[in-house]
Symmetry: C2
Subunit: 185 residues, 2 copies
Amino acid sequence: MAKTVARRRFARDRVLDAAQALFTERGVGGTSLQMIADRLGVNTSAVYYQFRSKADIVVTVFRPVFEDITRVVRIAAAIPSQEVRREATISGMIELAVRHRRTTALLHADPAVAELVEAVGEFREAFHSLQAILAGPEPDPASRTAVAVLVPGIFGAAADPAVCDIPDEELHRLLLDCSRRLIAA
Amino acid sequence: MAKTVARRRFARDRVLDAAQALFTERGVGGTSLQMIADRLGVNTSAVYYQFRSKADIVVTVFRPVFEDITRVVRIAAAIPSQEVRREATISGMIELAVRHRRTTALLHADPAVAELVEAVGEFREAFHSLQAILAGPEPDPASRTAVAVLVPGIFGAAADPAVCDIPDEELHRLLLDCSRRLIAA
């Protein structure tokens, strides 16, 4: 019985790995369930045995990222000082962007993912809370612009092949420096 | 005769408008030639009369952006001072990101577009020249990280609905301020 569960998890993980590779290559919108099955050398029925739909696969791939965003927001929301709250949020966002480098590349990088974020209630809330904390209450155009640069900048940079040789810890520190300069206004 | 040319241009522009709207909604990878035809209420043959392939449409949509990037790079390359050259490049990049807000949103936002940039020689050269000028010769990890934040940050921000109420000129100025802080290191 334990063996069956392990086998089933292995099969699920293989589908998720293949899906993620295809999302990176072709975008979420450009990937079909048939392509995922082809990549694994199986029939689509084998994929449907693990997941209800392509949307189910997409949500499963992105869930860990949004769970981490939710955690960052929850930790930050409990901090009374607005400045400290924002700093903690930025550092948390960078940490997860770097740790999930492969997945977060898609986060700011695909209209199909943006649509998914809006469609799934918990994802939408996590992302909007993140942006609200970063912008602060009643942000002026300069603050809104800085946040609009910061979020795709961090997620885009973490996924950029030009920095893939920089170790996670150093990249986290460098991105934090960038964020501080950007938000310092 | 002149009328026929005008009509043909009108038909081409309609295809390009429909394609761009679908690219924004579903990503380039998630848009088929059939969907473009459906959006226009015509047969695919009517679309094929104007364009050889979906790739032909994609290249046509992005050509103006890359022509502008090439122009920015050419102007900057003639400036002897490295610092002035970078400043001119950043301001030029922001100007075109803001002017082409709708199109540039896709530029850093779709694996299918990244693939296109690599596939089309002139596009690839324009983009790599832009990144090389921004990073400077033999950039250290901090400079590489700042440039990796800057490019998706600028293109992402220009396309962000959160700043769509800010007029072009003001947004250009605010993004230039962000870039100066980011690159100042």
